[in-house]
């Protein structure tokens, strides 16, 4: 499948577990430099889709490319070209801040020189020099979140997947996090994000809302509010997901 310059391109993607269609024939594209919000009800198929796009699970049918690479054949390449950050932050609490950065540098196959350069760069950027040799578990949640994002960016990937990145984070840190996301996008990176916070979903350039393995709604936040005659995205979500149920 040709990538046509999209960061992510998905065509008729389907994944079946037994007789359950977790992902049922979905298609969408994500532009380079876009913040794409991937929303949905619990169990709607978001995680299954993300696992396929990150090269962790093969589809039952359909096509997709990520960063121009085919998810069937080039999943190793995909892993080198994406960053992934989950709500659990995947940091080693018993390692220091510096050790976490160095560890992930090793995981991503950076050279010794690159690791030491990137570590210095990141500690300056995150303003974490004071805490560099403290255990990660002693950091406030907001800092852990920034550290987790930074480690996911160590290998300078063009696309970053964020899976509920702001759960449990205070409102000030959440705002700082989104300002950071916008900085990444201005550098040309593409951001693919899931969240249950609908006020945050509004920061995305474009959204899709999944239900029962299908994409129920897709568009810019403003377009979706008009389409569903809703004042806010929470109401859009309720109408998209519940409205769908009424039609069954």
């Amino acid at each position: 499948m040709r990538s046509n310059g999209y960061a992510v391109e998905v065509e008729n993607l389907t994944r079946i577990f037994g007789d359950f269609k977790a992902v049922n024939d979905i298609s969408f594209q994500v532009e380079k430099g876009e913040i794409f919000g991937f929303l949905g009800a619990n169990g709607a198929g978001k995680t299954t889709t993300i696992r396929m796009l990150c090269g962790l699970l093969l589809p039952s049918s359909g096509q997709a490319t990520v960063a121009g690479f085919d998810i069937y054949k080039e999943y190793e390449k995909i892993k080198q070209h994406i960053g992934y950050m989950s709500q659990k932050f995947s940091l080693y609490e018993d390692l220091t801040v510096r050790e976490n950065i160095e560890f992930y540098g090793g995981v991503y196959g950076l050279s010794r020189k690159e690791i030491s350069d990137r570590t210095k760069e990141l500690l300056d950027y995150l303003n974490l020099n004071q805490q560099a040799d403290h255990l990660t578990k002693s950091l406030p949640v907001g800092w852990k979140q920034r550290l987790a994002l930074s480690t996911a960016l160590l290998h300078n990937p063009p696309i970053i997947f964020l899976d509920e990145p702001t759960s449990g984070v205070d409102p000030v840190s959440r705002r700082n996090f989104w300002l950071l996301i916008y900085e990444l996008v201005e550098q040309g990176k593409t951001v693919f994000v899931t969240t249950h916070f609908m006020d945050e979903a509004e920061y995305c350039h474009r959204l899709s809302i999944m239900k029962d393995g299908r994409i129920e709604a897709m568009g810019k936040p403003r377009e979706l509010k008009i389409k569903y005659s809703a004042d806010n995205l929470n109401d859009v979500f309720l109408k998209a997901v519940q409205g769908g149920a009424a039609n069954e």
Partner: protein
Amino acid sequence: MIPIKVENIHKNYGEIKALKGVGFQVNEGEIFGLIGPDGAGKTTLMRMIVSLLFPDEGNILFMDRDVVSNNAFVRSHVGYMPQRFSLYQDLSVEENLLFFGDLFNVPKEKQHQRLERLYNFSRLGPFKKRFAGALSGGMKQKLALSCMLMHEPEIMILDEPTFGVDPVSRLEFWNILGTLRDQGITQVITTPYMDEAARCDRIALIYAGNILALDAPDKIIADFPYNIYKIASEVPHILFNNLKSVMEEKDIQLFADGVHVIDRNKMGINEMRNFLKAYLKDDEEPAQSNANLENIFLDLMHEQKEQV
């Protein structure tokens, strides 16, 4: 009877001061919200109320009894749903409910009556044979709540019950809590969602071990002393960064659909419009807006940081 009374609680973990002199009272039949981010001290408080953890200083009364010396009483009258509730993934919905019935010594014949009632309001009836591990996130939370209701506690303590739950299931969950309130069950709940905070009868905004505000949500909003102007913008992050050069950072708040400005110096909207004109695009204009809980929480957090 006062369901819960918390007096001047201090708790330290090593050098970390988790709670710094917290006090409040929960009234009969109300939904009381502890609102704040991770690390604020909410979970510590809840664990002390249910007698799993003792304060370094201060007292907690549960139904007028001191929790430290009455933990058996507390545990038989409370339903506590911790953040990571242990449902048995390879037991069915019904087996989980019966298990918790046994655990709380509920007589067998009563267990079955209660099952039917719980199925009614949780709408889990059609799924009673399904393994808990195969339920969606929203249904798991409903089952966890139902398990905690098997012994018909007077008081429920719910620690972030809507964590990781989608907006539809959150709404449904809150409708259930409303039903429980109608039945007279007192509830203490934590949540990071401001829309859920607004549904509580009273809330305590808690941050870094202190209560920053304590009242009914409407009252907290009505008491906020400043006007708030909302500047709708297509590119709020750019607007926010521009405004940082002319305004104090605590007076500008980033939202996804624009920037909210706190008129702390009481300039009035016209003067504010003139003052900011040079920094705004043609289609960006300050408009009078009502304060919301998020505005207030952000403001209180800044105040707190200044005091430290």
